[in-house]
């Protein structure tokens, strides 16, 4: 591997090699840094683009942008994001809450529990699911799952209706609710989160695991002490990737979720319909023409963007905090 060791040792060539190494280092460092800066630049440009288009619309907004639930972008515009924000956050958090334990569980299964004959094909199957286009998840959710899921949802409403999150909503029929969207989103983000967790957990050092087992730890104790702590940062990172995808998912949400009419009653229930930021933008993308009205949608896009920003900042703090602790 390290061929350099075999080279004749002499001052001249060595110095030349060192110089070459330095130049190579500079170039390589430069290339890597450029790529990093490029990413920063892209994000800054996107932000600028969003802000530039959103501000004029926001200035013309007759309603309170943060607390209004109406969405009327014909002049005079009055639009607010409350309903969109709630639908987006509720479905995505639900998706993450379902997908996170499952993705860790499956990743552990694939890396530490499954017999080899099963883990390979299962891993490939799950990777493949990342390739299923979101529109297909949408079709599957809306036309195949929703009708079957409707009676189950009725049952939950019946049993747990006293909890505001599960309160009865009569306006939405056929199971096309936020709850179903959350579940489908969880299934959609599961492959990508599982894939990352799997890689991370598989890379846990074998020596410590063997040590743990050697001193008589049970398998679960070994996993808890020598595998999971090692993967924590990666798991959180994967979860953020999954959450980001859930927050921004467009087509599947658009197909499954029933939209609400203007001025419908507010409810905390997950059995309500609604639209997320992304599905709202996509629903009306066909009629986005340059002008103020489009600015309103871009403002919604900006909020989604900021939302991810905050979520990621929090995640980063958690990861960094954990690092400090473990070091």
């Amino acid at each position: 591997m390290v061929g350099r060791a075999g080279e004749p040792v002499g001052l001249g060539p060595d110095r030349r090699a060192a110089a070459r190494g330095r130049r190579g280092d500079r170039l390589f460092h430069g290339a890597a840094a450029t790529a990093g800066v490029l990413v920063v630049l892209i994000v800054v440009l996107i932000t600028v683009f969003l802000v530039v288009h959103a501000v004029p619309a926001l200035l013309h907004d007759q309603a309170n942008f943060l607390t209004s639930r109406s969405w009327d972008v014909s002049v005079p515009m009055s639009f607010g994001i409350l309903q969109l924000l709630w639908t987006t956050v509720a479905t995505s958090v639900l998706a993450l809450a379902i997908a996170l334990p499952f993705s860790v569980g499956i990743a552990l299964f694939l890396t530490h529990y499954a017999p080899p004959w099963l883990s390979r094909p299962a891993a490939v199957l799950i990777d493949l699911l990342a390739a299923v286009p979101s529109i297909v998840y949408g079709l599957w959710g809306a036309y195949i799952v929703a009708p079957k899921f409707a009676p189950i949802q009725d049952g939950i409403q019946h049993l747990l209706g006293w909890i505001p999150l599960f309160g009865g909503v009569s306006a939405i029929s056929g199971g096309t609710t936020m709850l179903l969207v959350g579940i489908v989103l969880a299934i959609m983000v599961l492959p990508i989160m599982t894939a990352i967790n799997r890689e991370v957990l598989a890379k846990a050092p074998a020596a410590q695991q063997e040590a743990a087992l050697a001193i008589g730890a049970t398998k679960w104790e070994m996993v808890r002490t020598a595998v999971l702590p090692y993967g924590r940062a990666g798991i959180i990172s994967g979860a953020m990737l999954g959450l980001g995808r859930a927050l921004g998912e467009t087509i599947a949400v658009m197909f499954i979720l029933s939209a609400l009419p203007q001025g419908s009653a507010w409810t905390w229930s997950l059995f309500n319909g609604g639209e997320t930021f992304a599905s709202k933008i996509a629903s009306d993308a066909a009629e986005l023409t340059p002008g103020l009205g489009t600015g309103a949608y871009i403002a919604a896009g900006l909020v989604l963007f900021l939302l991810t920003f905050v979520v990621n900042a929090v995640a980063r703090l958690i990861i960094d905090g954990k690092k400090d602790f473990s070091e």
């Binding site: 306006a171 029933s258 009419p261 066909a286 023409t289």
Partner: protein, 382 residues
């Protein structure tokens, strides 16, 4: 599904024909045998003749890009495939991206012509933008008219008549049960159940919603006071994505009502309400739609041929709920070849020979008088 004989005949013919076409073997061209059954309309001879080249179209070789309204997707796809059968070298792409997106693409020179549910709107400064993009005037050419069906799903009710007032009241949530006396009064003899009315609307913005709300606003401003718009502004109902979403929801929900382009309603074998504008119930059929379009007036001036449909028409046998789609073109293209190509294709689309085939794909032809005006205008495109 219970079907009451006399008044449903036209609808049944359409449905049967589609069922034949849709469920039958994937035989081939599809423009042959079924068309006769569909149009008990008298346009059958003409439509049978279409597929054969009449030699009148001057062909071009090359490609054209167009985009816009989904309402004319079927019609223009048919035009493209029929035109291509004559002129194998012509590659025309049409994307159903929505009217607004089509116009935006047109004004930013992304496409050669746009399809739109409404003429260029001076309020939005669209003609000026289009003129800037074309460096010549842009023209609105009415090309296809598509009836909008009021579709419903109600167990045991195979025939339903609605008046404009009932439509506005149902879709605005003022009538909430199917056995409401007002509905009963329009449907004497029908046994209406007490099922709750579930209204379904399009959650994506669309020209169909625009035309449908315009219809309600025009015919019954008291019950539908909101101005028309591409996004649903009603206070009740559930929104579903695209025509497909509305169709599927209506089909699977007892007590449902919604609105869809005719072709979707036919394809999904949904029940369509008859509309009684004052001179008796009219079922949606090729003839009643054509009768409805015949009330259209050209309101554009000069070469601009924007149409206005008379939604409140009392003409007997006229189905009033109609949508017109336009092709928006430059009067003079920067590249003469593009102008020629557009002229050649649109001439074919406006020709009586092609227009006569429209009823079998869920659209209606332009009235003959307007057809000839459109044809004359297209000749002036360069």
């Amino acid at each position: 599904m219970i079907i009451n004989k006399p008044a449903r005949i036209a609808g049944v013919a359409v449905i049967a024909a589609t069922a034949l076409a849709g469920c039958g073997s994937a035989s081939n061209t599809g423009s042959g045998s079924s068309s006769g059954a569909i149009a008990g309309s008298g346009s059958s001879q003409a439509s049978n003749a279409t597929a054969q080249a009449s030699g009148s179209a001057d062909c071009f070789t090359g490609s054209l890009r167009a985009a816009g309204s989904t309402a004319q997707q079927n019609a223009i796809t048919q035009a493209i495939s029929a035109y291509q059968a004559k002129c194998p070298g012509a590659k025309i792409s049409y994307n159903g991206t929505g009217s607004g997106a089509g116009i935006t693409s047109f004004t930013s020179k992304q496409i050669d012509f746009a399809g739109s549910d409404s003429a260029l709107s001076p309020d939005k400064g669209e003609p000026a933008k289009a003129k800037q993009a074309c460096t010549s005037d842009a023209w609105d050419l009415p090309m296809v008219t598509g009836p909008i069906a009021v579709v419903y799903n109600l167990k045991g009710v195979g025939k339903l008549t609605l008046t404009p007032k009932l439509i506005a009241k149902i879709f605005s949530g003022k009538i909430t049960a199917w056995n409401d006396p007002a509905i009963a009064a329009a449907n004497k003899g029908a046994k209406l159940p007490s099922t709750k009315i579930s209204v379904f609307f399009r959650s994506d913005s669309s020209g169909t919603t625009d035309n449908f709300t315009n219809y309600m606003h025009t015919t019954d401003g008291a019950d539908w006071p909101a101005a028309h718009g591409k996004s649903w502004t009603g206070k009740v109902g559930q929104g579903k994505a695209k025509s497909a979403g509305v169709s599927a929801a209506v089909k699977s929900t007892d007590g449902a009502i919604g609105y869809d382009e005719w072709s979707y309603a036919v394809q999904n074998t949904l029940q369509m309400a008859q509309i009684d504008s004052g001179s008796g119930p009219v079922a949606l059929s090729a003839e009643s739609a054509a009768e409805g379009v015949s009330s259209a007036k050209v309101v554009g001036t000069g070469k601009d041929l924007s149409l206005k449909i008379d939604y409140a028409t009392k003409s007997p046998g006229a189905y009033p709920l109609i949508l017109v789609t336009y092709e928006i073109v430059c009067s003079k293209y920067a590249q003469p070849k593009t102008g020629q190509d557009v002229r050649s294709f649109l001439s074919y689309m406006a020709s009586p020979e092609f227009q006569a085939t429209l009823p079998k794909i869920g659209s209606a032809p332009l009235p003959a008088g307007i057809q000839s005006k459109v044809a004359t205008t297209i000749k002036a495109v360069s």
